[in-house]
Symmetry: C2
Subunit: 401 residues, 2 copies
């Protein structure tokens, strides 16, 4: 039992304050965010698998890998502090230490995160004076400002919260995220920060976060790229003294709510994809194994040819078949059926029942689903992607020139 | 020792005739090609790994898998005869039989190949009357017409030949190919047909073809898609009575020539890639294993973000690092150095030595190379790709509408 809160954010969960300010990394827009909890938090994180990892990511991973409590998350946009070598690592470490000092905690109580241009040194003095300022404007209504301050090429703030009814009372999950291209003109990345006032042990927190990430952020594609800075963090401060216990019904309920807010964030990232005009859900069913289902879904979500066809509102089921075929999944092509929303276009044995007019209407909507039934086993996989337009090329070709 | 022949084609090799005509599958353009050898040929083929395979491909594979001689290859464009079920298979079989009958050989002496729209029934009567006509216009100068007749969205005919000096005399390798997008609006694909008047045993022919394909057609990417109809065929008719023996120096010499003509074909496909404005060679060196080298090369060749940057002439080395990092290859990011042609842009330890002006000049050329040295082991991999422009999206979005 959960319910989305209108205008909710990371500060919707009790005991969290946040702020977002301009400190001078970008030209004009907000570029520094801070989320602080009144109580120390249990924290868990999921990080990019890219071999090239940004310095702040390494530092934050080092924190969540250990069993130390977390007080705050400091995030800057406009500079990824990735591919910056030893100097970049020292700079990141310094911001962590400086922020810890200001909040009167230890460095390892602070998570840090960066997003923006790769390979450029962090403008340390600007961030330092930014930290001096931001600690003075933290507020229980600061979630939206924080959401704004972590944006790079995003065209919309991404901020969410849900209320969750547990057996002994109500808790709240809040979240902000950013992401548009997976990487953008050296702009790195997808970031998500989730807060909750429920009390949750670190190990359970991590387990639930992994579950949610696997069916949300790990099932979206704008352009098939994984960045150097991707991270999803969850903080539990237990301020409302309601604990979610492992293997309880509350765990299930909380997981459902966490799934929902994570999927909402993931969808908000895809629908704000660079140049995107549509949000498309891809449902693969009837696969013999989970891996087969995932392979087909991923291949479709990443297919340039399919995504350009969808941009052109072209019910090009041949590209779906071909993309599924090259996915590496095992299935019998003759058994496949395909539909757009509930309009069937292909039945088994390559029986084409596509009605171009109906399909065109569906493909003209802002959101619709593509359903591919392999008609084999019982495994399925759900993905979200966007279409590929000329604007994707424009945005990414003309960034630095 | 080999030399490219100006205006060469499949009919440059002795004993081969060819023709390309219009039979009515397309609206106006040539759409049916036939290559016939005076003597029966040894034949070898390499076929798509896509799980969804076109009917003609299955039939041809069945021929080259066995030890039967080949007399001719019949190719139509405008219709892929893929995803057409049992009827499509029967249609393909019928064209093979009809063509065999006309040439007074057995069906299994004929290879067939199709390229074009997926999921549409083959217009059998048109092809039948096309076969009636095409057998009457076969000529030793027909290679270019055949090259034209296999085009789909290609903007240029692709036709090549090389003379090869072997120990006991000169032989010729001729070739035609097509390909633009890996798949195009339900247009399937990359096809290549190679002829030689040298005498080569089937097993050796296959081994040499695999070698060449692996460093040419398997190292190019327009959009990362593999089609349902991809095939590369080589025919050896031995007309000039010069045999290439296994493990001889002639084998080496012939292999080099076959590599050269295959690479030339592969490059012609990429530089004619949908919407492409540049042909880019990617050299990955210093990898610990061959797999690592290939993974990095493939990831770069397929990266939308890198390819849009290259379209914008943006020396965006961060995207190269990030794409290498997500490739799955094992390497130390701090050791990597990168250059465009011979202009170094990144040295180990993330030392940026990029000169924007020089880089812009290089990235403005029609052809240049990107060189990524992982500075680890001794393995390397060479790939070719094109840039990604708005035109790729236009071509692929607006096909059927």
């Amino acid at each position: 039992m959960y319910q989305f809160i209108n205008g909710g954010s990371v500060t919707s969960a009790k005991g969290f304050k946040a702020a977002g300010i301009f400190c001078g990394i970008k030209k004009r827009k907000k570029d520094l965010a801070l989320i602080v909890s009144s109580r120390f938090c249990n924290a868990a994180g999921v990080y990019t698998l890219n071999k090239v990892k940004a310095a702040p990511l390494l530092i934050s991973k080092n924190v969540t890998d250990k069993d130390v409590p977390v007080k705050a998350v400091l995030i800057n946009s406009g500079n990824a502090n990735a591919c910056t070598g030893e100097d970049g690592y020292k700079d990141a470490k310094f911001t962590q230490e400086y922020c810890a000092d200001k909040l009167k905690v230890k460095p390892e109580n602070i998570l840090i995160s960066s997003t923006g241009v790769i390979g450029v040194k962090l403008p340390l003095p600007k961030i330092i004076s930014g930290i001096d300022n931001i600690v003075n404007v933290l507020s229980e209504k600061g979630g939206e400002d924080a959401a704004e301050a972590i944006m790079t090429t995003d065209t919309k703030k991404k901020s969410f919260a849900v209320k969750v009814k547990l057996s002994s009372g109500e808790v709240t999950i809040g979240a902000i995220c950013k992401g548009s291209g997976m990487i953008m003109p050296n702009m790195a990345t997808m970031l998500a920060f989730i807060t909750t006032d429920a009390e949750i042990k670190k190990s359970l927190l991590y387990k639930m976060l992994l579950n949610s990430v696997n069916i949300s952020f790990n099932k979206i594609s704008v352009d098939g790229e994984t960045s150097t800075n991707d991270m999803v963090i969850i903080l539990s401060n237990g301020v409302n003294r309601i604990e979610v216990l492992e293997n309880s019904n509350d765990e299930k309920v909380f997981q459902e709510a966490l799934d929902a807010i994570s999927i909402e964030m993931a969808k908000s990232i895809v629908s704000d994809g660079e140049g995107a005009t549509k949000l498309i859900e891809i449902n693969v069913t009837g696969a013999d194994t989970q891996e087969d289902a995932d392979l087909v879904g991923k291949s479709l979500a990443n297919s340039n040819l399919l995504k350009t066809a969808l941009y052109g509102r072209d019910a090009n089921w041949g590209r779906i078949m071909s993309s599924a075929g090259m996915s590496g999944a095992n299935f019998d092509p003759e058994k496949v059926s395909i539909s757009f929303d509930d309009h069937e276009v292909l039945l088994p044995n390559f029986k084409v029942v596509l009605n171009e007019e109906i399909a065109y209407k569906i493909l003209s909507k802002n959101e619709y689903s593509i359903n591919v039934n392999l008609n084999g086993g019982d495994f399925s996989s759900r993905w979200w992607t966007c279409d590929l337009s000329e604007n994707y090329v424009k945005i990414n070709a003309n960034y630095r020139t």
